[in-house]
């Protein structure tokens, strides 16, 4: 079911392939929580981060260690020094010879695809500029499947839907499951027309609104993203928008009992701390689910090549 050599973009995943990743992640979850596993013993994962990232890097590192493997990593300082003198293609060829798989985060879009062309070993994209971040999408899908449901799902994507490309690939993936998607954003940060057209073309039901209150009571999942201050020329305008999309305990009155709230983190003030204690809040578990999902991918890409 899963014959990929690299994980670069969600666009390349079929529903069956996503399911096979999520199934394996589920079976690996006990090991993600500390159970002993030696599936990738003797293997090395190289982490090439040309841009800072805490969560994603540590989550990959944990995933590899939980499978009994080891990691070596290139920090942003070394990465940027290297980027000055050497082409990315050469760096990949060199480090690809040291490790059994590479994880790459790089500021340029398409850099992971380039890496996959030059690497002798599998490449996993951990974010290429404003481009793709497929492991985030897979862990989001895993969270939805575990904490809610992927079939007949009603989901609202909230916040910056224009620049946040993570939301774009999540929307594409949800379309494979026939989800009903409501887009909630300020008028200036609406999802680009070409993506909406793609989704509608696949038969996905897409609604669009600027008011969060309208949809809170109707959905199974609220997926909140951060609205960045830099996107607004006028700080007052930003304050107004940020306030209208803030989730507090009072906003959840009348919401479905089984509503879950997701956020890719880090959050700034999109979700009030008082929400953390409610059964709706799943964002910290969501962040943990990155570990079993990345374990599944590593096992599929490295482990299955060994057998």
């Amino acid at each position: 079911m899963f014959a990929k050599r690299h994980v670069i973009s969600m666009r390349e995943f079929s529903r069956e392939e996503i399911d096979s990743v999520l199934d394996l992640a589920e079976s690996l979850e006990p090991y993600a929580r500390g159970g002993r596993c030696e599936a990738l013993r003797g293997n090395i994962l190289a982490l090439l981060f040309f841009e800072p990232s805490t969560r994603t890097r540590l989550s990959f590192e944990t995933a590899m260690m939980r499978l009994g493997g080891k990691t070596l990593s290139l920090g942003p300082a070394e990465g940027s020094a290297m980027a000055k003198g050497e082409s990315l293609a050469d760096t990949i060829r060199v480090i690809g010879a040291y490790a059994d798989a590479l994880v790459i985060r790089h500021p340029k879009e398409g850099s992971a695809r380039l890496a996959s062309e030059f690497s002798p070993v599998p490449v996993l994209n951990a974010g290429d500029g404003a481009g793709h971040h497929p492991t985030q999408t897979l862990l989001d899908l895993y969270t939805i499947r575990k904490e809610s449901r992927l079939d007949d799902l009603k989901i609202a994507l909230v916040g910056d839907l224009k620049y946040g490309r993570t939301v774009h690939s999540l929307a594409y993936a949800l379309a494979l499951y026939g989800a009903e998607i409501t887009l909630v954003s300020p008028p200036t940060l609406e999802m680009p027309d070409r993506i909406k057209a793609d989704l509608a073309g696949n038969g996905t039901i897409v609604r669009e609104t600027h008011a969060l209150d309208d949809v809170l009571r109707e959905v199974d999942v609220l997926y909140i993203t951060r609205i960045q201050k830099e996107r607004f020329p006028d700080p007052y305008e930003y304050q107004k928008v940020a306030k209208s999309y803030r989730i507090g305990a009072d906003s959840l009155e009348g919401a479905r009992d089984r509503l879950i709230i997701m956020h890719p983190l880090p959050r700034v003030d999109e979700i009030a701390p008082e929400v953390d204690g409610t059964h709706h809040a799943v964002y910290f578990r969501q962040s943990f689910y990155g570990v079993p999902v990345r374990m599944a991918l590593l096992k599929m890409l490295i482990g299955d090549r060994l057998e």
Binding site: A89, H106, K108, G110, L114, E117, G129, H132
Partner: protein, 156 residues
């Protein structure tokens, strides 16, 4: 303009390639796609805004002593999908072809996304997938950005 006047403007070529039915104004972009610039030693004739029964106005490019290869011809389809290619030997048309857009365009157009890795000095050539031929919609293999308008602006 009748045929007699036409002959006075440009004489028929003995050997080479005539690219006909180029949309008016695109002849210079056709030369660019073919990699023909001031360094060429071939004799090139460029006719622009010629009256055409089919489309009102058209451009024509004649390249002497060079028969275009199929891949070169197909690249022309990006800006002149209705062009016809005539291969001339001894003043006779020995082959007449239309252009067919390939599934992938390599090294001809740069990606319009300034943050794309293909616009840096990495040892790769730009690579665009043809998503749709009519209208032309291309997608960068690297950053997945689409190009649908002003394609000639992105010629390398």
């Amino acid at each position: 303009m009748n045929d007699g006047e036409m002959k006075l403007r440009v004489t028929p070529i003995g050997n080479g390639t005539v690219i006909d039915h180029i949309p008016a104004g695109q002849a210079l972009n056709v030369l660019k796609i073919l990699g023909i610039d001031r360094t060429t030693e071939a004799t090139i004739s460029v006719l622009m805004n010629v009256a055409s029964r089919r489309s009102g106005r058209k451009d024509i490019v004649k390249v002497e002593d060079r028969e275009l290869r199929e891949e070169e011809v197909n690249r022309i389809s990006l800006i002149a999908p209705g062009a016809t290619i005539n291969i001339i030997r001894d003043r006779k048309v020995v082959e007449k072809r239309t252009v067919d857009m390939p599934d992938q365009i390599v090294g001809v157009l740069r990606c319009p996304n300034p943050s794309c890795i293909s616009n840096t000095n990495e040892p790769i050539r730009s690579q665009l997938l043809v998503k749709s031929k009519n209208p032309v919609i291309l997608r960068c293999v690297y950053c997945e950005q689409t190009i649908a308008e002003k394609i000639a602006d992105y010629l390398i």
